[in-house]
Symmetry: D2
Subunit: 482 residues, 4 copies
């Protein structure tokens, strides 16, 4: 299949770090330790989870009586300093890093949410998306709760603060009966840390051990290593885990559906050094690349990744295909948000702030370009053209995940139907749009096989349109007051 | 009575603008106008009310469908710029300037509070203090509402958002049945502005007219003049006034106690160019000074005020006594918050950042020094000493209000019992403490007579300890989470 | 003379603190003290001199070997905190507050200027304006010095750093031979403080004593009192005073022209509690008001000032005329820079952010309105109209200085010829322009008599156009690079 | 050679992006174009040069008459926005990004330096280090120039502004006769851009073409590609190139020593996609890795880089050795400056914020770890331990450059003699210090051969201690005033 020399629009501007990738929702962290500076450890834990959200960060600390917190817009390293960390004294803490689309970027939505409730103070950090948030929100309004922001994390917080149940344990169970969709929670009361994972287990959260008597929970295991904690186990889908100074105790396993883990944690989200089901995601992605080489070989001279996220898959593709691995694109390490717009002339000359091509590695060569996913398809075309201008004689695009044909309604910012290129176009049409010599995606079966052998418990909604839960089709901005 | 040469402690540092004065709680503003930029007019209205609160400022605007808002810590002129004012488009608006003691200074407490409720969006600005806030707060928690901050303004907002009543009108009436204490509210729904004054009428709020079809409410009439509106009338104690594009309509007059206006609005709070009961407060304060001259004359050569607030009273005292009026103290016009602490040496030399004395007007003279009130008594002594060092042969202190012997529990930050000098000491002891040659206060009768002839409907709690309502003795910081 | 009912333009917006007043250039401060925190004392000294410049502030400290400094845009209280003050350790210091027109507002022009020179480090603070700056600047460029900013203070610094002379003493003498115009300097070397005043003595600078062994110099004596120093004497016109830990020593008295002090220091600039020639300026201004009453009496019922600067003159006018003194205008104490522009509607209604009128004191009365000076004449008219709208039956404007018919070229920002209302119009025309019933200015003779008896050594350039030096007619912005 | 199990100190904290690497000095850029927004193009050019300096950034623009500029501390994307870019209109521009050690981090040292000179305005951007700066600086002081900062770039600016010569051309020639050491300059006058490279050609600077009539100069060719310019040629060592709207013209080739290019541009500094002598540095570094494999093979199972800079060398080592290439360390992509210090407990557990190990790729394997250079040796040891803790059975460290035994005095921040581990220890001792199983460096001959065939014109001072120029042994901080 050859589909070359498509007419191309102007090369687009690649200023964002996550161009044309699905976007994380959040990272959560929690810790109980009587002999440590829990706020400081939470800071370093969030530092390791920064890739899961760069919009805002916050820490709440409990000391047996009250909860104190600090949160602000920005990276973890920008939000915290010694001065605002110092007052956060206690022996239990949770932390949160938040990603959000620009539209709803407001301090009111930063987490943890901290409220006073009838059972005392409460702090909540949430990763995920409730699919029945609109219903739950309306119930809260009807019950007479005024809601300040638009995030469903506030809905969760008010459900816990005011929901049925005489104890926190009861309240969590009631909450899990009512909530649908994706939620990993770390919740702080004045003397306990709760870690909760939805019955589908959509997003990861794990338990670690810190020294003799400390316990840690985190979205990803990479945060454990960073603070010197050891990996213990994953929180189970449907599990409510309560941790006090006495240690962890499972309060309940809510009747689970068949689990449905988000495949994009395996493809792109989680850091390559994090473990899922005991295996580092780097190795998983190398296996995806190997499988891709078997499914979709190419006659070529060299294999290159679109850095950085596709590097493991490219290494795997090279290994399985026997083609040499190399680098063909250099990424500007100092990409930052800029508000300076290119002018017309710059648009014409085709500015490429994010990547430059390595002519020496490409000139006269038939190139296999490995990417891990294509969402809107607006950056792959310019990259193909960049490779051609650097002298590549052929460009064969290989993608280590299947075509994304459906949006995600469970907490991943994946674009809408009209934006998804694989919803609008066939694979040959996409190939032509990209100006590639050939294009192939990894099959869903291949992806699942490479991701975890003999175990098919994944959510595959964005590939198949069949979601593990009913979806209230609500726009995430729908509740915005402003 | 002569009580001189009291041993004095080191002269204290006078860095705050409101040293030893009772402190305002807040200023509220509201506007309905179909043919004006209501956010911009609210900005200029708040500018005129800035003296009622310098900690935070905010504006909320309704356009018939939604409410948008912006608020931040700082002066009105610091909080707003063209960029954040521009999105606030609509035809109804409220604004708020907030004062608070440092302890609870947090953005979470800035107003207006904006929430989504079952009847739609709601924005609330509040001046005052509920005396049964703790009870109401507990009821909200029991009802299952998580509360984020510590201010009773959030309590009011959640009571309105979720309280009984099928309409806003009903909800306001229910609220007024339940709430006790001081509250002037401006409340915005998506298509109406409500102005509410507690049945005691503790703090002022008035109605003005802007052009043909615009209506304005404000804590003080000075804000009307600033935006070109004309004074219409005061909102009545117990009145719920609803203003829409159809104009104002009184929803209810709640059964009132005997009104109990705060006397300190007449003594110090309200701007001298504001009107209360049709009379400018400048004239009221001149009359207080005249009455003080009659009650407590002094053998002296010159009358000087402690600037700026005692200037009208000093003018009145001079007029009635026949003594010449002059200035004896110059106030640094650029007083600002500084975090630089004087060192020991500076303490010894007696730094006086706020005032310098005018030797030429004082040397060899018997001086009557007029102040409008003494709370803690920590700045009057150093000022007396400053006058003596400038050569004053005698210093006779005259205060145009009675001794403050009790705290306020109705929204004025007046200090606690142990801090109040007139609670601890007799007048001769205070005189000795100040190092004055004589000291006299205006009598309560004199104050009332000068403030409004033949009409005794004032709250006099801080002078007599008899409050117009039952007081839950709660510290305002009591609900603070952090 | 009656000149009423002039057609008036739209009422202008009075947002600046110094509307229609000549503008200060700078305040300088210096200290030598072995047993004190000299940077901290300089901070408090600058605090007292804040009225002389609000654009930027800076402090430089010498410790016998090196000079350290900090400066930034903003008020003294905004520029300094404990963190940036702490490193400024030493026993000699200078400080500076700067005013400048907006055009050349840049950090590069903030003072003190600190440079390394062949004789070691050098820090310079300057108040004034050189009249031959362009010539001197060209000489420096020709000598091969690259100049970074546009201020003549940099010219002074480079002249001292690189001018002829083997010692600092020689360099200062050479400088004074070459420089023309107005300059009060405080200069720091690694082990000495120099205070220099131009031979004309245009602007004030005085010497004070701090404890046993400390010495202070400051633009105005009010800064001495603030830090507990006692007034010693003024620096003489033409004097070079050197202060080390050994105490002060006069290096030279440069051959002086007849002194020519700036009359506007007596009229408006200096704080009323500062002393000039042993007399507080408050008393001087009361005398000016008395003289004005004698020269230009009015049939009226009440005397009011335009606050705050005209208050002493109004007190004097009231005293001499026998008319009662009162307040008729209330100034918003929280005037701050705002970038919010009034819209057209606000322009029509006649917003008056700065002043509100006191109807009770004005209605039905014939008012004498005292101002200390009129420059452009753009705010007096609106104030007259404000008084009329408040019910004043007549408004008689009296100004306690003569008509300003010429710009200042010696460091005062006084407006240009076409801007000066008294350059364009006769007094009756101005009266008509203001809409006043009568208008009178204090005569130059009266001003001088009131300001200092029997001693006529003033610069009167802005009144007569006869300057004490030759003027290079250069625009102050002329050297701006950007 | 085996040198294992050395006792190790606590693992250090790896928070900086450039840990244990020599540090760039600066990046320079210049452009002449009559039909383009030169400031905007300079912004994007600096964006591509950001890796050469992250402390401050600045742009100066000339329009035939004047020069305007803006500069501030921070990244290019932080320093500039549309508001401060807009006023920078013209047709010539230069830009600068600056690196500096913390000690001398001050806005005064940010570039470009802009001064007014006798020939008109002048803006200077400089990359490098003068070896006779102290002498030149003293000459300037003696000539009577006051110097404000401590950088030798100010020395260059003042030498050009005030040096001998009636024209700019003459001044540049005089400058090059006097200056010794490393300097790549982009200099703006009101109507010309000068690009100057020192006779040794220590650091790179090249010329590019933009459209029909535009010309660009930049430290590295990667900046040309980013704005759509094509590479033309390198500026020659000793060349003075003048570019006006008429195009480029070589003013002079100053008599050159034998050229002496900095080898660290080939090893680490320049971006891998930049060209030097027509070859991309990525290919050069792959060749270095290949040579290293030939010189120092290892019995091992896998080759991994220390990311990101050693990746090309690791690819080359894998290719030449036949060992599989993989990733063993994951770098946190969100490393940012944090002021939060780890506490004692965190120190003990061995926090590793910068890198996590990929256990799957390492466990039970003999690992070749490729780094491009070792300076102080404080991060390599912890990385070796990290690999071992992840299960590596052997760790063989291979470095693609020779041992650094001497500091650089020509503009590279390379550490001092006592800090350089290869100055203090033998290779076996270093191996033991790192806890590696074996350690080998690339030979100098191998490095040179791989970097450029048959052409030995490199500075090798840091490897051999033989510098191409005389060194005034001055500490870069020596002139600091504060």
């Amino acid at each position: 299949m050859v589909c070359r020399s498509a007419p191309m629009g102007a090369i687009l501007y690649m200023l964002q770090d996550h161009d044309d990738k699905p976007a994380h929702e959040c990272g959560v962290f929690g810790i109980v330790a009587t002999d440590a500076d829990v706020a400081r450890l939470t800071f370093f834990g969030l530092y390791a989870l920064q890739h899961r959200g760069q919009e805002s960060a916050g820490i709440a600390v409990a000391n047996g009586r009250t909860i104190r917190s600090h949160k602000a817009m920005g990276l973890v390293s920008q939000v915290f300093n010694e001065e605002n960390l110092r007052p956060l004294a206690g022996h239990l803490a949770i932390g949160h890093t938040r990603y959000s689309t620009t539209g709803s970027s407001r301090l009111e939505n930063a987490q943890p949410f901290v409220v006073e409730s009838v059972l005392g103070p409460l702090a909540v950090g949430h990763n995920g998306n409730l699919t029945n948030a609109a219903t739950l929100r309306q119930e809260l309004l009807t019950r007479g709760v005024g809601l300040t922001g638009s995030s469903d994390s506030e809905v969760i917080t008010q459900m816990l603060a005011g929901g049925e149940g005489r104890t926190w344990e009861e309240k969590f169970k009631v909450f899990m009966v009512r909530a649908q969709g994706a939620y990993c929670l770390t919740v702080l009361t004045r003397d306990a840390l709760f870690a909760v994972r939805d019955p589908l287990g959509l997003h990861p959260i794990c338990l670690g051990r810190l020294g003799e008597r400390g316990w840690v929970v985190a979205s990803e295991s990479c945060a454990l290593g960073t603070i010197g904690a050891s990996f213990e186990r994953e929180i189970e889908p449907g599990e409510i885990l309560m941790i006090t100074t006495e240690g962890p105790r499972t309060i309940a396993h809510m009747p689970a559906h068949k689990p449905a883990e988000c495949l994009f944690e395996y493809i792109y989200f989680a850091r390559p050094d994090s473990l899922l089901h005991g295996k580092a995601l780097h190795a998983v992605r190398v296996a995806q690349g190997r499988e891709l080489a078997r499914e979709a070989p190419a006659e070529a001279d060299v294999v290159i990744p679109v850095p950085d996220s596709a590097t493991p898959a490219a290494i795997g593709y090279a290994q399985a295909s026997g083609l040499p691995y190399s680098e063909g694109l250099i990424k500007n390490r100092y990409i930052g948000r800029t508000f300076i717009q290119p002018d017309d002339q710059l648009r014409q000359v085709g500015i490429a702030l994010k990547f430059n091509a390595l002519t020496d590695n490409l000139a006269g060569k038939r190139v296999v370009m490995i990417d891990d996913s294509i969402v809107r398809g607006n950056t792959s075309g310019p990259i193909v053209r960049l490779l051609r201008e650097a002298g590549a004689s052929e460009v064969h695009v290989r993608v280590s995940s299947p075509p994304i044909r459906h949006p995600c309604f469970l907490g991943v910012d994946m674009a809408t139907y009209p934006e998804l290129i694989a919803h609008r176009l066939t694979i040959p049409q996409i190939c032509e749009h990209l100006g590639a010599d050939s294009l192939a995606y990894l099959s869903l079966e291949g992806l699942i096989k490479a991701s975890r052998h003999g175990d098919d418990t994944f959510c595959r909604g964005c590939f198949t349109g069949k979601y593990p839960v009913d979806i209230e089709l609500v726009n995430k901005e729908i509740f915005e007051l402003r």
